[in-house]
């Protein structure tokens, strides 16, 4: 019944996506294999081995990984806890969903202005962590609450009668039931945790404390110094990392929900 020709409706998006993202990205990859932007000699993997000896690149990579590894699970756990508490005990409350979602739409400048005035003594890593959880949990919470609210209660009741405790019921029944939403919020949380550079830049400028010098700082600063081969090489490594992470996540999700794809 569906028309195959409808596939062309994707053309607008795909054309722009290719012109503005894919093609220039592939074009910039060339720099990763040149010795510098002027002589343009092929450098093989020289840029890569140099980068892995660069202490700022390594520091940036370590901090980006650390921030993502700490902030994403924390934000997910916080959102899930709030959603579970609301759905299982507190029930529907007016304004609550809206209140949690509000920070998602608030500009970074707002929170940064406040933080630099009232909370400038906080350690930078902690400050960014708090901002991240505050700013982006709302989206997770709404999606999780909805999924929890529309879950069938029968299985939970049965498990309760069989004597399964609250924690066991949560991890054996509730969590597997809302897995697609958890997957969706996980992806969004990773995206947003990589955007924390914006707040970091507004709060601490281009050269922040060592504990929050991230790969994004490295890329930004080298762009200003016109070190194209450096940032192209770092971008390749970043993209390869994402490629692997998304691949693993998608594979895990597809196993769970064959029927969607």
């Amino acid at each position: 019944m569906k028309k195959k020709s409808d596939i062309f409706l994707l053309a607008f998006s795909l054309a722009g996506f290719t012109v503005f993202y894919v093609a220039p990205f592939l074009r910039s990859l060339g720099y990763a294999f040149l010795d510098n932007a002027f002589t343009k000699r092929f450098a093989g993997l020289g840029n890569f081995s140099a980068l892995f000896k660069n202490e700022y690149f390594l520091l940036g990579m370590k901090n980006t990984l650390l921030f993502t590894a700490v902030s994403v699970p924390l934000a997910m756990a916080f959102s899930l806890a709030v959603s579970l508490l609301t759905v299982s005990f507190a029930g529907d409350m007016p304004f609550v969903k809206g209140a949690f979602f509000l920070p998602v739409l608030l500009p970074s400048a707002t929170i940064v202005t406040l933080f630099s005035r009232y909370a400038s003594s906080l350690p930078p890593f902690l400050a960014l962590l708090i901002i991240f959880i505050w700013k982006y949990s709302g989206l997770n919470i709404i999606l999780m609450m909805t999924a929890l609210g529309s879950m069938e209660k029968g299985m939970l009741e049965a498990a309760k009668i069989d004597g399964a405790g609250a924690i066991r019921r949560t991890f054996k029944i509730t969590v597997p039931n809302i897995l697609p939403v958890l997957f969706f919020t996980l992806i969004l949380s990773i995206v947003n945790s990589l955007k924390i550079y914006r707040e970091s830049y507004l709060l601490y400028g281009e050269y922040p404390d060592k504990s929050v010098y991230m790969l994004q700082n490295y890329l930004n600063n080298h762009f200003e110094k016109l070190n194209y081969q450096n940032i192209a090489t770092a971008a390749v490594i970043f993209a390869a990392g994402l490629y692997a992470v998304v691949g693993i996540l998608l594979r895990a999700e597809r196993k769970r929900s064959e029927e969607i794809w």
Binding site: K4, S13, F17, Y21, A90, P107, T110, T113, Y197
Partner: protein
């Protein structure tokens, strides 16, 4: 008892999420309305930057939703070879922070001659994969029967999308639009890389260079007014849109 305590706890937590926005407004009024008068009367470059922000955010969010609704239809409703892989590429690009794509974006905006114009911000935003990803996820939950039924009346897919699918997922479309708007409104690093004339800078960039003080709080309060207003106007649509995202 458990219900009472948890309701109280959730209420306090929710209040903490709203508090910062309120605190900015309170702090901006400490010296009366003088900083607001300064903003509108004595600091024309801030007003100009506000106009630039509006121009960029409205055009790019509207364009992005228009392009992405069509893309989401194809991704969610049509099976074709390579769909999974293509969507995978969209997700990876969506996850890349701007700093990773900064050199490519700089190269393409120079090549197309849009460097140092608002277009250098608008075009990448129109084609950014986020809206396509979000709308695809929401559109997957539209019952196929209603689309099949509409097929009997018209053979134009565009009509079906506009008259059947978009009205059914109105909340989702509004939600994607407002989120894209807020994202564009919030850009700081992008204009610094893609533009060099300060007269083209949006307000977010100017705010990042304003020192502390009542004026900065007033400017920040005015800056959050538009996203805040959109949120208050469209709150029920936004929540409904996200709630439409319901997979088994």
């Amino acid at each position: 008892m458990v219900k009472r305590v948890s309701r109280l706890f959730i209420a306090i937590l929710a209040a903490a999420f709203v508090l910062p926005a309120a605190a900015v407004i309170v702090a901006s009024l400490k010296e009366g309305i003088k900083p607001y008068v300064d903003f509108f009367v004595w600091e024309p470059k801030y007003l100009r930057a506000l106009a630039v922000s509006m121009f960029i955010a409205f055009l790019s969010s509207a364009g992005s939703v228009a392009v992405s609704v069509l893309a989401a239809y194809v991704f969610s409703q049509i099976k074709f070879r390579g769909r999974g892989f293509l969507f995978y590429i969209y997700i990876i690009v969506m996850m890349m922070p701007f700093q990773v794509t900064l050199l490519p974006q700089y190269i393409i905006s120079k090549a197309l001659g849009i460097y140092d114009t608002p277009a250098a911000m608008i075009f990448p935003a129109v084609f950014s994969p986020f809206a396509a990803f979000l709308l695809t996820q929401i559109m997957k939950s539209i019952p196929r029967d209603s689309i099949e039924a509409a097929r009997l009346d018209t053979s134009s897919t565009l009509k079906i999308i506009l008259r059947v699918i978009v009205p059914q997922m109105r909340g989702g479309v509004v939600c994607a639009w407002v989120m894209m708007f807020a994202e564009q409104w919030n850009m700081v690093a992008e204009p610094l890389v893609l533009m060099e004339s300060e007269k083209n800078y949006p307000l977010a960039v100017l705010l990042s260079k304003t020192g502390p003080g009542a004026f900065s709080f007033a400017a920040t309060a005015l800056f959050m007014l538009l996203p805040l207003g959109l949120f208050l106007i469209f709150e029920s649509e936004i929540l409904e849109g996200l709630e439409g995202y319901r997979l088994k």
